[in-house]
């Protein structure tokens, strides 16, 4: 490994390494994927991988977590996006192909993709 020659070197390295421990640091956005038996059967795992890849390629700061079935099995795979104090938005019937647009619109541009929304919870 290259020797660190200055404060700038160290800071550059830190930025690079912060990704490694992303799961342990606070993030303003949490994306939750339904992973009950219904979710998995409907392809939630593939959706989650697509989300992880999309976040990585766009260097977006977000946690990805999994939850069990919330009872809306017919709409699986369900993906929830929660940003700070905003309402938690639930999208239904998400496929891996829909992920780039979802991330682009909701996380990058800040627009909720209304046509895919199945519900909203809370918010300040």
């Amino acid at each position: 490994m290259p020797k660190l020659k200055s404060l700038d070197d160290l800071q550059a390295l830190r930025q690079q390494l912060q990704k490694d421990i992303k799961a342990r640091t606070d993030a303003a956005t949490t994306i939750t994927v339904g992973m009950g038996t219904c979710g998995i059967a409907a392809g939630a795992r593939e959706v989650m991988h697509a989300i992880l890849n999309e976040l990585e390629s766009r260097s977006i700061d977000a946690h990805v977590t999994t939850v069990g079935c919330i009872g809306m099995c017919s709409k699986e795979p369900l993906v929830d996006i929660q940003q700070s104090d905003e309402p938690r938005v639930t999208y239904g019937n998400i496929s891996p192909e829909m992920v780039p647009r979802l991330i682009e619109e909701h996380l990058v541009k800040g627009n909720v993709v209304d046509e895919w929304v199945v519900g909203r919870v809370g918010g300040a």
Binding site: L7, D9, Q11, L13, R14, L17, K19, A23, T32, T66
Partner: protein, 594 residues
């Protein structure tokens, strides 16, 4: 490097069953095809020792206790695949019996202020990359590039940081003396020889976060102007040795040790020194003798080691916790640190809790926290809701504090005034079934065995005190013994060579001060109020409460208990060896001890 995972599984308690747990988790994660998505990390001690092995799953913050390899398939399936909490593995609050699934909601965690233990259990101690990712070595880089050595010393002085090895001397002033001392070379030393038998904070810190100590050491070396350093660890502490050795090698590879550190022109390198572990070995001059390869005995200190230390050269020796705090002071400022704690004792203190307490383990609270908060809030109270009797603090040579002092704020000064000491922060809690005289005798026995024997007051005096204490616990004491103990104790305190001899009489002197009635009960009434001292107690069965279940008779190793089924049993006092098994097993509280 630079790969994002969805979840991190942080496994603690390497001393316990974690070595089997790690491969089991890795295997299961692989089997379920979660590689590259979920990562298993070997993290250090989280301090919740009584609950180990513990696992924290991030980012959800789900916390599992007492996890066995057999629990792994369910844990992975439920939590990592399906995102559900496995109830039965979560912590249950003893008082309310409510389950607490998330780490941040644990009362044990919420009532602490973690400065020293900031990274413990949260990062992989074997990875310098994780330490850098959480902000490691930023303070070093800042100090080397933007601060003069004198400014570093001023900052540390202003923070009010005092040496965490036990003596509580101002770290800034020690470094200042080290900087001003004449002579070359100068040495920067780390004291990793934690001698107190009930303390494990230094070891846990070296195991869980070695880089934070190393960073403080390099900053200290820069401040005093040392280019060589030694880090002393007893070889028995194998996990500490493993993580510190690895930390030093990694720091060298990144150029954080060696020549021209971070392009500043400052050179510094560290040698890891392993030696034998002993109680007196943590004393500053003894440790320098040990590094030189001599027997670890102290020497008189009319000349400070900052002037004449290792190999007769100026040497700055700091405890691992002291150095760990330094980078936080540089990063967050002296004012921040000085805002925590009391007027003269700044910052936090790490305590190792042991004895009759629910949350046995390592905790960190601000200086000035009361005994009550430590025992009942952070410590979770006393098992089986028994009554609090005393708290012994400061390691084996600390004093006992009685119930009347439950609301005393703990800092260096108040503890010394109360006849105890902060020491390294070892705490033992005694309930009403603990005999403080027997416990004081036990510690005295330890100190007598550990005395290096160099000076007469400690070598001879502690031995005499032990003889008298043993006599009292055997029912052979006299009232005049109490005066002899007091005089002897005071002489030993005044005339011993090193701090260990000076503090050795504390357990006896403090119990004489606060528990004189128990001494009187032992000597005049031939009675041990706690029912511990074997020569003074008898076990009996209360015929009214006894249901004749026969459990005690079955468990008695001496076959001293007899009786018909469903009829009250009796103990044959001739055969009884007073082991107390009958007392412990009786479900009807029919066995009494007097």
């Amino acid at each position: 490097m630079g790969e994002q995972y969805r979840a991190d599984v942080l496994v603690s308690c390497l001393h316990d069953k974690a070595p089997d747990l790690m491969p089991a988790l890795e295997e299961e994660v692989k089997r379920r095809g979660l590689e590259g998505e979920v990562r298993v990390v070997e993290a250090g001690c989280r301090g919740f020792c009584s609950m180990g092995p513990v696992i924290l799953i991030e980012p959800e913050g789900v916390f599992y206790i007492g996890v066995e390899p057999a629990d792994v398939p369910e844990l992975v399936e439920e939590t990592l695949v399906k995102g559900r909490v496995v109830e039965r593995l979560t912590y249950r609050e003893p008082a309310t019996r409510k389950r607490v699934p998330y780490y941040d909601d644990l009362p044990f965690h919420g009532k602490q202020t973690r400065v020293v233990l900031r990274n413990c259990g949260l990062i992989d101690p074997m990875s310098i990359e994780e330490y850098i990712a959480v902000g490691g070595y930023q303070a070093l880089a800042h100090a080397l590039s933007e601060m003069k050595p004198e400014e570093v010393i001023e900052e540390v002085k202003a923070s009010g940081l005092r040496g965490r090895g036990g003596a509580g001397f101002s770290t800034g002033r020690k470094w200042e003396a080290g900087r001003k001392a004449e002579g070359e070379p100068k040495y920067m030393l780390v004291n990793g020889d934690e001698g107190d038998p009930n303390c494990f904070m230094d070891r846990a810190l070296m195991e869980a976060d070695p880089h934070s100590i190393l960073e403080g050491m390099i900053i200290g070396a820069y401040a005093v102007g040392a280019h060589e350093g030694y880090w002393y660890i007893p070889f028995e502490h194998t996990l500490s040795v493993r993580s510190v050795r690895n930390a030093i090698e990694q720091a060298r590879e990144y150029g954080l040790l060696g020549e021209d550190i971070l392009g500043s022109g400052f050179d510094f390198d560290v040698t890891l020194r392993l030696g034998a572990h002993s109680f007196v070995g943590g004393e500053s001059t003894a440790i320098m003798h040990a590094i030189e390869g001599k027997a670890s005995e102290p020497r008189p200190k009319h000349i400070h080691t900052t002037e004449v230390g290792l190999w007769g050269k100026p040497s700055c020796l700091n405890n691992v916790k002291t150095l760990n705090i330094v980078s936080e002071i540089i990063n967050r400022g002296a004012e921040w640190y000085a805002s925590i704690g009391t007027e003269k004792s700044k910052g936090t203190q790490v305590f190792s809790l042991a004895g009759k307490i629910n949350n046995v383990g390592l905790v960190e609270v601000p200086m000035g926290t009361t005994v009550r908060e430590l025992v009942f809030d952070v410590g979770g109270g006393i098992p089986k809701d028994r009554a609090f009797k005393a708290l012994q603090i400061g390691g084996p040579s600390g004093g006992f504090l009685p119930e009347e002092l439950l609301d005393m704020p703990m800092d260096y000064e108040t503890l010394a005034e109360a006849g105890s000491m902060m020491g390294t922060g070892g705490v033992i809690i005694a309930d009403d079934r603990t005999c403080v005289i027997d416990t004081a005798r036990y510690f005295l026995g330890f100190l007598q065995k550990q005395s290096c024997g160099k000076c007469a007051p400690c070598r001879e005096g502690v031995k005499r005190m032990l003889e008298i204490m043993t006599r009292i616990t055997e029912g052979e004491g006299q009232m005049s013994d109490l005066d002899v103990l007091k005089t002897l104790g005071e002489v030993i305190k005044a005339t011993s060579l090193c701090g260990l001899g000076k503090s050795a009489p504390n357990p006896v002197l403090s119990t004489l001060r606060y528990f004189r009635d128990e001494y009187v009960a032992h000597i005049e009434e031939g009675r041990c109020p706690a029912g511990v001292c074997k020569a003074l107690i008898t076990y009996q069965i209360n015929a009214e409460a006894c249901t004749g279940c026969g459990l005690c008779a079955l468990k008695c190793p001496q076959e001293a208990i007899s009786g018909e089924k469903k009829e009250p049993h009796v103990i044959d006092q001739e055969k009884c060896i007073k082991c107390g098994v009958c007392f412990d097993v009786c479900k009807f509280d029919a066995v009494t001890v007097r």
